[in-house]
Amino acid sequence: MPSLVIDGKEITADPGEKILWAALRSGIYIPNLCATEGAELPFGGCRLCLVEVEVGGRREMVTACSEPVQEKMKIYTYTEKIARMRRTAFELIMSDHHIDCKNCAKRKDCQLIRLASSLKMTLQPKTLRSLVRDLPVDDSHPLFTYDPKKCVKCGKCVFVCQGIGKSFLDFTYRGFEMVVTTFDHLPLSSLGCESCLECVKVCPTGALFLKESGGTADG
């Protein structure tokens, strides 16, 4: 089993395991949002799990969710540089997130709120303008609602739906215009979804939420 040093603490990990999961198992917290344990091809989209790795005397910035552990690896989970990059990443995520905690179904269990407090940041970006897009809410499904204005494009719903062989959701368009949606924007109720609700369970924000949770999405 490879042994490595994270922030001066020596731990062991499974061969091929990604840094993030090895660290979390050993009680070392690395912020993360889009990571899924066991993902064959980690998405690495949120950029919150950036860590510095020392290999052969050189320091490199890598995403902990996608970088496999190596014997004698030295990892730093918090440096000035990392802090700066994480702050920018979090501000970018929040800059097009519709902040409406008062009416949000996930206000009691929101990954963004937890991240903000661990990063010692506010939800509202301080250095970036807020650019929330005017996207329509899909209210068609009997059990859950999809509000793309709250989506942070972590892709968890896309990958979980793909994993069970359905793939009703995917990333569409590009750059700032990117949105997670269905084929040709068809309503969720029209796709033959069997309501396994896995997408709702993995959604870290109030983008996908159960109707019974009482949250609202303004149209």
Binding site: Q162, K166, S167, F168, L169, D170, F171, T172, Y173, R174, T182, F183, D184
Partner: protein, 157 residues
């Protein structure tokens, strides 16, 4: 040839392997002019891929269109030089004047609106290309004029 026959013919020449997806979409668009919902569905069926994935690919690339092109496709240049000289304002002016968004076609099928990335005539920026004719040094004010002239020509022609 009927549209569905054309598509069948194109699909018949390819193996349903992932790497053939882009060439197939490109050929269909070339023949038919655009990729409708039905076309995307048959392509998904052919490749045994979820329709959402085809939609993802089609929306990712600017070259694919999902609506029939207008008889007068308007290409507004947003290349660096045109962009700096207000290409976006020209696009906005066309969008306002025709009441369509980028990528759409007017209801009468007369005009389509697209943005592109440089025709190589940056010296007369900002430019617009309509039916292979370049309109140089556009301003939001000349947009209306261009549209009126094209409408007139359409009526006469």
């Amino acid at each position: 040839m009927e549209e569905s026959k054309q598509i069948e013919e194109i699909l018949g020449r390819f193996h349903p392997e992932r790497e053939n997806l882009l060439p197939v979409l490109q050929e269909i668009q070339e023949k038919v002019g655009y990729l409708s919902r039905e076309v995307m569905e048959s392509v998904a069926h052919f490749f045994h891929l979820p329709p959402s994935e085809i939609f993802s690919v089609v929306t990712f690339y600017n070259q694919f269109r999902r609506k029939p092109p207008g008889r007068n496709p308007i290409h507004v240049c947003l290349g660096t030089a045109c962009y700096l000289l207000g290409g976006n304002l020209i696009l906005d002016a066309f969008s306002r004047e025709l009441q369509i968004k980028k990528g759409d076609t007017t209801e009468d099928g007369n005009f389509g609106l697209e943005s592109t990335a440089c025709f190589g005539c940056c010296n007369v920026a900002p430019v617009v290309k309509i039916n292979s004719q370049i309109y140089p040094k556009m301003t939001p004010g000349t947009v209306e004029e261009v549209i009126i002239n094209l409408r007139d020509k359409d009526k006469k022609g």
